[in-house]
């Protein structure tokens, strides 16, 4: 079996059997998304934002990372034959694991739920919140996902550097 670990800011889509996508989550969210008819699916791993102490982060600024992460995943599944209307999601993470960052995990989970609702994508299973980190293993072709709680602390990665540019 092939295993593809992903970290924050990454996503992967697979359409063949025997391929597992894995990730380790703290307050981040991983969405496992799959079209069961064409057996194409994938997983992303995103953090809306981790405000540095004293800084104020605009909520809209935070959301665009999540929206972007979801769009990349959805578009890739659609490129491989998936249909948005058939997609089902599983939702993991959103733990409030870091002292002083209370609420980030909760905000991440709330965003993911709201996003999927807006897009009309059904949530099959959700394992979110709590204080412990999670390991997620997803077999997109087979449609199997496993989520286990892990005891050791997850390194907290920083929010992605904001990049926007491009001139003609």
């Amino acid at each position: 079996m092939k295993r593809f670990p992903i970290v924050q800011g990454e996503y992967r889509v697979v359409a063949e059997p025997g391929v597992m996508i894995t990730t380790l989550l703290g307050s981040c969210i991983a969405v496992c998304l799959r079209d069961p008819v064409v057996r194409v699916g994938g997983m992303n791993h995103f953090l809306l934002s981790e405000p540095s102490p004293g800084s104020v982060v605009d909520e809209a600024d935070m959301q665009r990372y999540g929206i972007h992460a979801m769009e990349l995943l959805i578009n890739e599944i659609m490129k491989l034959g998936g249909l948005r209307s058939r997609m089902r999601a599983q939702l993991y993470g959103g733990a409030n694991v870091v002292a002083g960052l209370r609420g980030i995990g909760h905000a991440n989970a709330a965003f993911a739920r709201r996003f999927l609702e807006t897009e009309g994508i059904a949530i099959g299973h959700a394992d979110i919140g709590g204080r412990q980190a999670r390991k997620v293993e997803f077999l997109p072709f087979e449609g199997k996902a496993r989520c286990t709680l892990v005891a050791e602390p997850v390194p907290v990665a920083k929010a992605p550097a904001f990049v926007s540019g491009g001139e003609l």
Binding site: R64, I67, M70, E71, F115, T118, E119, S164, G166
Partner: protein
């Protein structure tokens, strides 16, 4: 200096969350007349019957992509000169070049902040008031 409130905008994206986010950003910038559609086909019908000054369109959409949409707009004798700003993913250099050849006015790389969108619009329309 055009007033943002006087510019009619059509936002085209297959993702409802993205449409809502762009709509909010435009409203924060002072735009009053913002319409949106989930796909180029519906958007083309809408802007032909009720013209807009600015089209902001995603590239990656299932039925017709942003380049095909841009081409269809530019070929139309009535709406052909409508300002067209494309939203692209960061890795889409080739798409940007094709869009430039087809006459796109500007493009914005996702994920973008409202300020980036404002800057791209102002490069076409001049400073917004």
């Amino acid at each position: 200096m055009p007033a943002a409130a006087a510019i009619k905008v059509m936002v085209v994206d297959d993702q409802a969350s993205m449409r809502a986010m762009i709509r909010r950003a435009l409203q924060d910038l002072g735009f009053k007349d913002v319409r949106d559609k989930a796909g180029p086909v519906e958007a083309l019908d809408a802007v032909k019957s009720d013209r807009v000054h600015l089209i902001i369109s995603d590239y990656n959409m299932p039925d017709m992509d942003g380049l095909q949409f841009l081409e269809a707009v530019r070929k139309d004798p009535v709406i052909g000169k409508t300002v067209f700003i494309m939203l692209t993913g960061s890795a889409d250099k080739e798409i940007v070049q094709k869009a430039a050849a087809l006459g796109v006015n500007n493009y914005v790389v996702k994920p973008f902040a409202p300020a980036a969108l404002k800057e791209k619009i102002e490069r076409v329309f001049g400073e917004l008031t």
